[in-house]
């Protein structure tokens, strides 16, 4: 289930099937055991317009192995069996979902014990049928809120979201950056005016310092490209490096908390 036991919460993204499905399962379990609250299982797509080079390359590697949405949901089911309580969501572009059919998609998620989904290129106006099918199976619908979203849009995004709201830290694509944009804190404040759901901040959060900084104003941080970059480096042996990376985030967090 989607809950943030830690403060701040950690949403960890990985591209499933990079380098293979078995490794993705191990990496996800390592992330959970090191302290991730929610796992985003990324579905590789041929045309990832919202993603930067790191996740683009991961998608290409996964697609060379012909990894499909159905297989990613299968990995989700395995993770669910091994770790009954962790939040699990599918992170995907809309086209593979349409190919499966919205109803089939919702049914498979529910059968697999996955908590919900975030569809990157599905805005609230186009999501009516998706939302009602997901609701009918008690699945969470996470939507993106952007610094460019008007208040009117933020209100609609907040109403349509379940589980948490994903606040995009800056205009741009996924990927690491040196500094966290000032946009993020302001956006979280604006989102909170419309909802009591947890707000997670993503896009460009890649190290302990940024993770802590996000913790100051948001319920959780999403870390994606930094994890995927470790997988790119270590391939099938990446679970260890990924686990160590998350433990280090948490250790620094404890230190910072005890200092203050």
């Amino acid at each position: 289930m989607i809950a943030f036991a830690h403060k701040p919460g950690l949403v960890a993204y990985l591209t499933c099937g990079d380098p293979d499905l078995q490794s993705s399962r191990e990496i996800a379990l390592a992330l959970i055991d090191a302290g991730a609250d929610v796992i985003e299982l990324g579905v590789p797509f041929s045309d990832p317009v919202a993603d930067g080079p790191v996740i683009q390359r991961a998608s290409e590697r996964a697609l060379r192995a012909e990894v499909s949405l159905t297989q990613v949901i299968g990995v989700g089911a395995e993770i669910r069996k091994a770790r009954p309580k962790t939040g699990l969501i599918i992170f995907t572009y809309i086209n593979p979902v349409l190919r499966l059919g919205l109803d089939g998609f919702a049914k498979r998620l529910a059968d697999a014990g996955i908590d919900g989904a975030l569809v990157t290129d599905l805005i609230v106006e186009e999501a009516g049928e998706y939302i009602s099918l997901m609701r009918s199976r008690e699945l969470a619908t996470v939507f993106l809120a952007a610094p460019t979203s008007t208040d009117d849009r933020l209100r609609r995004i907040a109403e349509a979201s379940r589980g948490f709201v994903y606040a995009v830290s800056r205009t741009g694509i996924t990927g690491e950056q040196k500094q966290l944009a000032g946009d993020a804190a302001e956006l979280v404040r604006r989102v909170r005016r419309f909802t009591s759901l947890p707000v997670a901040v993503g896009f460009g959060v890649s190290n302990a310092e940024q993770f802590q900084a996000v913790g100051e104003f948001a319920d959780a941080a999403v870390i994606g490209s930094a994890i995927v970059a470790l997988v790119e480096k270590d391939g099938r042996n990446a679970a260890k490096a990924v686990e160590e990376f998350v433990r280090a985030l948490r250790r620094q967090q404890v230190r910072a908390n005890s200092i203050s």
């Binding site: 930067g52 159905t70 809309i94 805005i123 460019t148």
Partner: protein
């Protein structure tokens, strides 16, 4: 309407829909810009000063109206319907693309955006964008697949000569689709200062509608010209379809004239095997690519297929959503011409009429060559020559070995 393969279409808003097709499938970050663009476009459409300035540029800068030429020797050779050519190839920069670029350029200025980005396949839209940016004093970055840069190198140089930056895209198939991905990534990053000058009737609403409107002049002129020159409406209008902007422009004014057949010609490439062509209505199925719901060449799990065409401008796995609606409604018919048919058509038009069409437009000529002989002599066909073949001399030299 024909049954489509999609199991469900996730829409509530009617906004920007052509039947079930179209819509807006973009990251949330772009929504503010799309709403701003839509509002600016609605205002400009009603603003007579804007329309007067655009008409002035189309007339005095781009060279509108373009002629409708009777192709006497081609007609005689084929021995069937009388063939007229709508001469978009005579426009400034060599293709119909300039119509849309002037319109969107003026809109960008109206919205206070002075940085323009664009994608290009054959380079014709890139050149037209670079031209308008030079004319209006904007900064311009054009994304182009490295495979397309190789096969259309003359146009790469033209864009640079005009002061634009051309950025090579090395992902995917290194063609038009990948250039659009990269342009969208730039836009989502620089959305506050940048206008994305999309070059076809593709993408999220309002692009398909807006780009069509900027090209409506093609069909409007052709309709008046054929009534004046031929004394009646044509029996068929033929245009090539990549994204489908020249075809939408040519077709639109004729849609209410039910007796006029509208024929779109897709790229048949090397064969009908997936990956070897770009004929979306021959093997494609409804799906979402780059912001819009339309026919898409894709595999069983919804991954977008690679495509092939000898003409870079038709080498794209999706098609404008309004074409999808015209197709399903049976109002327009879509056929395919192969690489070799297009090359043969290019040669035939060159040698009968002294007109070298772009390889894209050659696909429309190829369908005319197939169809005209089966029609009666009193029937009339209009072929939209969307661009000229100068840019294709490299490919033509290699392929034709004259």
């Amino acid at each position: 309407m024909k049954e489509t393969q999609a199991q469900s279409v996730p829409f509530v808003s009617k906004c920007g829909r052509f039947g079930p097709y179209g819509g807006r499938y973009v990251p949330e970050t772009l929504m503010a810009a799309l709403e701003e663009l839509e509002a600016a476009y609605r205002e400009a459409k009603e603003d007579t000063a804007f329309q007067r300035e655009l008409d002035g540029l189309l007339h005095q800068y781009a060279g509108r109206p373009t002629p409708l030429s009777l192709a006497s020797r081609l007609t005689e050779k084929l021995g069937g319907a009388r063939i007229y050519l709508k001469r978009e190839d005579l426009l400034h920069t060599g293709a119909h693309k300039i119509n849309n670029c002037l319109g969107q350029g003026l809109l960008a200025r109206r919205m206070g955006k002075r940085r323009i980005i664009a994608e290009t396949g054959a380079g014709q839209h890139g050149v037209a964008t670079a031209t308008v940016c030079a004319l209006l004093g904007f900064d311009c970055v054009v994304y182009m697949g490295s495979e397309d840069m190789r096969r259309q190198e003359l146009n790469v140089f033209r864009m640079r000569l005009l002061g634009s930056e051309v950025r090579a895209v090395n992902s995917g198939s290194r063609t038009l689709k990948d250039a659009i991905n990269e342009a969208m990534r730039d836009w989502v990053t620089n959305v506050r200062t940048t206008h994305y000058l999309l070059g076809s009737v593709l993408g999220a609403h309002p692009y398909p509608e807006m780009v069509r409107d900027f090209h409506r002049c093609i069909g409007r002129e052709a309709r008046e010209q054929i009534l004046a020159q031929g004394g009646r409406l044509p029996d068929a209008v033929i245009a090539c379809v990549g994204g489908g902007s020249n075809a939408m422009g040519a077709f639109y004014e004729f849609i209410p004239d039910k007796q006029v057949a509208l024929i779109g010609v897709e790229a048949g490439g090397r064969s009908s095997e997936l990956g070897q062509h770009a004929a979306r209505f021959r093997g494609g199925s409804p799906g979402v690519l780059q912001g819009t719901y339309s026919y898409v060449l894709q595999d069983q799990s919804g991954q977008i297929a690679t495509t092939h065409s000898v003409s870079a401008g038709l080498d794209y796995p999706s098609i404008g959503p309004e074409h999808a609606a015209l197709h399903d409604a049976g109002r327009a018919e879509y056929v395919a011409a192969s690489d070799s048919e297009a090359l043969d058509a290019c040669v035939m038009l060159a040698r009968t009429e002294g007109i070298v069409p772009a390889l894209e437009s050659s696909h429309a000529v190829a369908e005319c060559i197939r169809r005209a002989p089966q029609m009666k002599k009193e029937q009339i066909v209009i072929v939209n020559i969307s661009g000229r073949g100068d840019k294709d001399m490299g490919i033509l030299t290699r392929e034709l070995k004259l």
